[in-house]
């Protein structure tokens, strides 16, 4: 064997090394290309825009209702409410929410807001005096309390004289939550409807409210009332201990939505006064006295508590 043979062998080895270390990595689908064949890296797609609701025409057919009511100073007022027929019929043709946590959506229905704001302004005209705020609030409360009570299972509760299409039957009971303008047009409703209407009106004044739901059972009927947020409410003249419920660190005082205290003279009920704020026992309802309500906020937006992306370290030699 000559030296030239050894050189040939070494050259062959070198070729193998070059192929292994240079040619093969060049042909290998390198680390610079992390893509999947046939798949593009995902991109963000923003949510589609929602078209704005068409306002109801001012001059279209409408229901006009006149409410004769007493304010807390004893004055008797007449207030007219006009509800577009199309809005009322649209509500009637809308399925009800099955989740009670969503009931605030009735009170804050966007299409009802102009009517509620206008009505709230007329029942409780704005004043520059902060001390009169309480009276404004109480006039709204008293206005709603004076709307006649009617059970959902009574056809008298509806202007059509029949149960609405989306009334939900549960045994002999019927559940149908009314949008605020439905209660105004029908001119009557039950505790849920009154609480929803009152919530819509008080919200229009800028107050923070929640719905208080008392779950009933076979023996004790359930109930719904309103909770109004107040930092402290303990008037010296109150002959009761104002009851409030805590929700997300805030105090919501009980407000009854149906009925009011009446005073009879002989055989005739001559006048009345509203159930005051915080007077839960005055209603005489057993379920209110003995149970703690479930609280549904009017405005509800669930958010994730965990959402932070943790940065991960890269293996050495990586990008």
């Amino acid at each position: 064997m000559e030296w030239k043979d050894i050189i040939s062998v070494l050259a062959g080895g070198l070729v193998i090394l070059v192929v292994a270390l240079v040619v093969k990595p060049a042909l290998y689908p390198g680390p610079e290309d992390p893509s999947i064949p046939g798949a593009a890296p995902p991109a963000y797609l923003p949510p589609a825009a929602v078209p704005a609701a068409t306002p109801y025409p001012e001059d279209g057919p409408a229901y006009t209702r006149t409410f004769r009511w007493t304010s807390i100073d004893g004055g008797v007022h007449t207030t007219e409410v006009r509800v577009p027929e199309a809005l009322f019929l649209e509500h009637r043709a809308t399925p009800r929410f099955s989740d009670r946590l969503a009931y605030g959506r009735y009170a804050l229905a966007e299409a009802d807001q102009p009517i509620l704001k206008d009505l709230a302004r007329r029942i409780a005209p704005p004043t520059g005096n902060p001390e009169e705020e309480y009276y404004r609030l109480m006039n709204i409360v008293f206005f709603v309390q004076q709307i006649p009570y009617e059970y959902d299972n009574s056809t008298d509760s509806y202007i059509e004289g029949v149960l609405p299409r989306y009334a939900r039957h549960a045994g002999v009971d019927v559940e149908y939550q009314k949008y605020p303008v439905e209660m105004l047009v029908d001119g009557k409703g039950d505790c849920e409807d009154a609480s929803i209407l009152m919530a819509g009106l008080i919200d229009a004044l800028g107050y923070d409210t929640v719905l208080l739901r008392y779950r009933g059972d076979g023996l004790t009927p359930g109930h719904m009332a309103l909770g109004i947020r107040m930092d402290e409410f303990n008037p010296y003249y109150a002959k009761y201990t104002p009851r409030y419920f805590e929700y997300e660190g805030k105090h919501y005082y009980y407000v009854e939505g149906t009925g009011y205290l009446t005073f009879a003279t002989g055989n005739r009920t001559s006048w009345g006064k509203p159930y005051p704020i915080g007077d839960a026992d005055g209603t005489g309802l057993e379920v209110v006295k003995s149970r703690r309500p479930e609280i549904s906020p009017l405005r509800y937006l669930p958010t994730p508590a965990e959402y932070r992306i943790r940065p991960a370290g890269l293996p050495a030699g990586g990008g």
Partner: protein
């Protein structure tokens, strides 16, 4: 009849091997050199292949992290803009945005899970790889639950939406735990040690 065996032709004589000691040493040296070159070449090749695998894995993790940081930009911008006590229209818009981010996050995590799952990595890195894949799977589940919560909210099933977001929070915490596992596995792989128990 007699069988006659034909005469075989005479075999050619093999040349006599006449190798000197010097030639024998050179031949042995060449053989050793070839074997050494092959061994060194193979070792270099396998080391290089492992480095390539780690580099590929690292680049895929980097690409995933880069895309996830883009997702997080969307999330943090969204969380900063979440209104307090919003009107229904504002709340609805916020939930639609959450659904869109959920869909985006789900697509990003599914894509990178497929890429990183297909990586061949050295044995020392398999723990880190599987921990990272687990992290992406949990994140994918969390984003899917965000989209489901938004869908439940859209049909006004608020209780279901809230419960679904709680499950998303759990999945997110499992993602964070998987990332911690990944970091530990990675440190152990790079130090050439067995990772400590979680």
């Amino acid at each position: 009849m007699d069988i006659q065996i034909p005469k075989l032709p005479a075999l050619p004589r093999l040349p006599a091997i006449a190798v000197s000691r010097r030639q024998a040493l050179i031949a042995a040296g060449a053989a050793v050199a070839v074997i050494a070159a092959a061994f060194i070449g193979w070792t270099l090749f396998t080391e290089h292949a492992k480095e390539q695998q780690v580099a590929t894995f690292a680049n895929h993790i980097a690409a995933s992290e880069s895309d996830l940081s883009r997702v997080y930009e969307k999330i943090s911008a969204h969380m900063r803009s979440v209104p307090k006590n919003p009107a229904p229209a504002g709340a609805d818009a916020s939930m639609r945005e959450l659904a869109a981010i959920g869909d985006y996050g789900r697509a990003v995590t599914a894509y990178h899970r497929q890429v990183i799952g297909a990586d061949t990595v050295p044995e020392a890195y398999t723990g880190a790889q599987s921990a990272y894949i687990r992290a992406l799977d949990n994140l994918n589940r969390a984003f899917s639950l965000w989209s489901s919560a938004a869908a439940a909210y859209d049909i006004k099933e608020y209780t279901a939406a809230t419960d679904t977001l709680k499950r998303a929070d759990e999945a997110w915490r499992e993602y964070a735990a998987a990332i911690a596992d990944y970091e530990r596995e990675l440190r152990a792989a790079e130090a050439g040690e067995t990772p400590p128990p979680a």
